[in-house]
């Protein structure tokens, strides 16, 4: 595409090009890592249409809700599906002989 023709496809103000799902997902992931309410580095973020999917594991129910809250604030207008699970910790189990 020539540079001259670019005005035909120039993004509108209500749909700026940086709001491509790819960048929104990256922004949400960054927010989850950097927001002091979450600091979660291992959450996977996927966007399909107006649906936002969160996957991964956290240590407790409260942190699970905070992850969804921060994601929702970072990507307003998307429906958040919180598929994050709480890690279930069992007893110590058997020892391994090395």
């Amino acid at each position: 595409m020539s540079h001259e023709a670019s005005h035909d496809v120039a993004p509108h103000h209500d749909a700026p090009h940086y709001d491509a799902p790819h960048y929104v997902a990256a922004r949400v992931q960054r927010a989850l890592a950097a927001d002091e309410r979450t600091y979660e580095l291992g959450i996977r973020v996927d966007i399909r249409g107006d649906q936002l999917f969160l996957r991964g594991e956290v240590e407790c129910e409260e942190r699970r809700h905070l992850v969804a809250a921060v994601a929702g604030e970072t990507a307003p207008g998307l429906k958040v599906h919180n598929e994050v699970t709480v890690v279930e910790v069992r007893g110590p189990g058997e020892e391994e002989t090395l």
Binding site: E57, C60, V89, R90, P92, E95, E96, T97, L98
Partner: protein, 243 residues
């Protein structure tokens, strides 16, 4: 005669989890001779969270040795956290060693947080911008300190305690793109040069538990989301592991 090493990492405690871990440690004195914590004790690295960690792991019937993880540095309060932990009787290793008496046997532990850089053939090198050089130099200097610490350790068994991984084996399940931020082969190289019975690490929440260094040292990723149990116990020096 054997030494039983309990280990867990990435407990990521905070005020919201206060009191939650302590109960899982009931009976640890019957199961193990020492407890090793592989860093990421906190979530934000604040002194307040450090105090939660100290309260969960203080006054156990066995010695507790820990290293810090990247999360424990997040609030620039690592020194204060170290102090809080030491006041609670928890040993904190920062690129140094300690010797623990377990009955008639002596266990040497060399530890520190470690750092990243990637793995042989696919790693960063000390070249180019100062930021890049500093990144790789940090890992190299750590591995040199560990090498030296291991060399000076004359004990029945030797364990290395780290936050970052020395090998790719235990990262399986993590995205390939972030491997350089999960560990460095320089850590394995240092340990292989001197030999050890076991290399414990955390940090890779989506990885797997078991791996091996190129030199044949057993590697165990004890990050809590990987273990899914309160702690793992590894027995060193048992007569015949197959019986």
């Amino acid at each position: 005669m054997k030494i039983r090493v309990a280990a867990v990492g990435d407990v990521h405690l905070g005020e919201d989890l206060r009191g939650r871990y302590r109960g899982r440690l009931d009976g640890i004195g019957e199961r193990a001779d020492v407890l090793l914590l592989a860093g990421d004790l906190t979530r934000h690295g604040t002194p307040e969270e450090g105090r939660v960690v100290a309260d969960e792991f203080r006054d156990l019937p066995i010695p507790v040795v820990t290293v810090l993880g990247n999360h424990d540095y997040q609030s620039d309060a690592a020194d204060e956290i170290v102090e809080v932990l030491r006041d609670a009787g928890i040993q904190v290793l920062q690129d140094e060693s300690t010797v623990i008496e377990c009955g008639d046997l002596r266990l040497g532990v060399v530890g520190g947080k470690g750092f990243g850089g990637g793995f042989a053939g696919k790693c960063a090198s000390e070249f180019g911008e100062p930021q890049m050089k500093a990144f790789v130099r940090h890992t190299r200097e750590i591995s040199e300190l560990w090498h030296k610490a291991l060399k000076g350790l004359d004990t029945d068994h030797r364990v290395v305690l780290s936050h970052y991984s020395p090998v790719k084996d235990t990262l399986a399940g993590e995205p390939l793109e972030i491997y350089p931020f999960l560990g460095s082969y320089l850590l394995a190289e240092a340990v292989d040069a001197e030999g050890a019975d076991l290399f414990i690490h955390g940090h890779a929440h989506s990885g797997v538990e078991k791996g091996l260094t190129p030199g044949g040292v057993r590697v165990r990723n004890v990050a809590l989301p990987v273990l899914r149990r309160a702690y793992a116990v590894y027995s060193l020096g048992a007569e015949d592991p197959e019986v």
